[in-house]
Amino acid sequence: MKHSTRPSLKMSRRQFLVSSAAVAGALSLRISSTNAAEASASGDLSPWLMIKPDDTVIVTVPSPEIGNGVSTQHAMNIAEELECAWEFIQVEFADFTREYQQPGSYAVGNQPFFGGHSTDHERMPFAMQLGASARERLKLAAAQHWGVDVAEVSARNSVLSHKPSGRSLRFGEVAAAAASVELAAEPALKPRSEWRLLGKAQPHKLYLPKVVNGTAEYGIDIQLPGMVYAALLQSPVHGGQLKSHQPEAVLGMPGVRAVVVLDPSATPGSPVTAQPTFGFDGSEIRSGVAVIADHYWQARKALAALPVEWDNGLGAFWSSYEKLQQRQQQLLERGQGARLTNRGNVDGVTGTATVAATYHTPFCEHAAMEPLNGTALYTDQGLELWHPAQDIQQAFWVAVDESGLQPEQVKYNQTLVGGGFGRRTTSDDARAVVAIARQYPGVPVKVIWSREETSRQGAYRTAIATGYSAQLGEDGMPLALQGEACYSGMQVNIGYTDMVYAATDTIPNVQLAVSSLPTHIVTGAYRAPCYNSHAFTIESFIDECAAAGNIDPLEYRLKLLANWDPAWSDCLRVAAEKANWGQPLPRGQGRGIAISNWPHPGTQQAGSTVCAVAHVEVSQAGALKVHRLDFTFDCGRIANKDAVLAQLQGGILFGLNMALNDGLSLVDGAIAESNFDRLPMLKMADIPEINIYFEALSDHDRFAIIGEAPVGPIGPAIANAIYQATGKRIRSTPFRKADLSWS
């Protein structure tokens, strides 16, 4: 995962180039950075915004819509300056082929096509400048039409008005004329004090009317003439190979058209230098077999009847998750990890008390509700793909790589996405779809993973073992903090090597190391990758230090963060106060607190800081009930309060499920849990009272991303509450597997 430094919202408007064209009576506008403009001076205009004669405003969104409302927010940013009526807005996803032909057309910022980032500082000034430019062009066209001074023309609600004469025109009536006007200079943006939408309006997500009547089109819903269906089965042990199969056993079954093999060595490769956002690692074909049939159920039935043998390869060595945990523990005991964070000298410190603990966070499956899928048509002319990707640029280049075709011959169509959470970023799914369609050319093939196959062929959260030790001074506060995180899978150090307790100067000696225990299990991004483990381990350990120092966990954190960005302390204080922190509870009940930040925990006034207080009850038999979660946050400013609230609710519940339920086990190298009967997910009846407070918002000049941070503090707040309730420290997730009984 790449993360950019945060550019200022006050970007100079001279950095943008807006160009216009009339397209079928519509005003079509594109915007680009001036440094990207030269490369794309020729060719058709790749529109960012189109205003049609009937007043419809088409907003092009260069990000997938995964449910976080990114497309709606992008439209809101444009509408703030455009002064169009909200009900005229429609959104369309950008065509990546245009970006390929005209580099820089849609690629703005460091993560141009990534789902979570188009409402932040990278995209916002572009969108607002675009809206302002369109508005001024419409005003000038109206002024020229009336023969009046443009200063006397105003725009509001998709109507242009000339007050002195009482005349008005709709946007659509001058759209075509506005395409040919020349602005003397790009307009300045409104001051924030004049914003009418951002920070004020709370529109619902634009696509919801289609969601509730069943017409919203996800990848799995694509319908094409002559389409056939494929069901697939890949090596249950990642990295294993298909040893043998007997197509003849099923080719005579009703509707069955073909049996094709997924062969990792058959990938043709891109004929040009590819530019996938995250590279091709993790997107490789997983050895397997697919049955193609007239209908999906026929393909499923035939696949179930197909005799298949696997060579499990080296992965079978990992007979259980416990074996993996033991090996990770052994590595931690060796203490040979790379020491990435060093402050002072931890070796020279002997305190009055030593605290030490090791935590385990397992592989987790995203379990997005839309199973993996995609539809592809491979012909002599090229490849067309319809797919719910989390990163359009990645999916496009994977399709080029797996088809072996020239990029010009590949057409990618983005659909709505039925949940992402990081799973749909590498496009291993798109690659399998193309590999199957390539072997059955001429008709569209829709490939659908079963839920079981989706779960077994995951790109899971990294399994991590983290050991900490601390030396406490006479005042109970840490003099030295030492840690090592042993990663089995993708390594992301955010929230660990840059943790806030290493960034403040309140702990004089800090050393944080990393080590790696590679396995065959495929891992990848999982809602705030690895941070979601690090927040659990460090916030649990700090709590253990507080207990050893005989200091209240809230007070302990406030002391540690005393010299830090005050928003952190505000988050702690407000959450604690709202949760009645300190008020006595009956035996078997407890409160716990935790705080974290994504993605800039070690930088003041950056990222989103989030804090949770959990109130739990544990029966003597060990049944856990989370009664209540009180939650505070600081992301600087917010553009749509209800959208932020929805992301916080979603992130909190994702974090709750991650802590209570999600965690995979291994049997002879294969993931054991394949469907929801064995991998329980939170349901309505499991939801605690959730209170989200806006009082800790700092109003600092940033609109930080908000969907990922909340998953961090939920688990440790609950574990710390369990300790208060029972005296037991729970040092691994998911808690459903822990013995919480007490007497």
């Binding site: 449910g67 919801l208 159920w297 979603g650 992130g651 994702f654 939170l682 309505m684």
Partner: protein, 153 residues
Amino acid sequence: MTMINFKVNGQPHSLEIDPETPLLWALRDHLSMTGTKFGCGVGQCGACTVLFNGSALRSCSLPVAAVEGADIITIEGLSDAGDHILQKLWVEMNVPQCGYCQAGVLMAAADLLKRIPNPTDDEIDAYISNICRCGTYPRIRAAIRRAAQEINA
């Protein structure tokens, strides 16, 4: 292959189909009605919920043979113009996130309100056993409560 006759949203259909095909795939694949979603295939998640002769049912686990002569209502037929009180509130209260599971939730919620016009939280919990990974449960509960208020007003 067997001929199966049933109604979907009031329209009669005759399908020449493998009778073991789950109703879900008969709807999606044979009738091109993709509003009803595939989530798990084992009756756990509820994304495929439809009304079978007026009762909420998980269509992924019911062979199409069992719907001979039945009336099926899917999300496409929950209302004529997408204006069922729950559909209106789902939009107004910004309930869905990715939205994939919501067709099933809406069908379950519509059935709940028909049977229990003013459900308690426990009744909502018992009835809405659908899985949503985006975490829309608090809004689902709020929208059902508000619908109940408006129905009973």
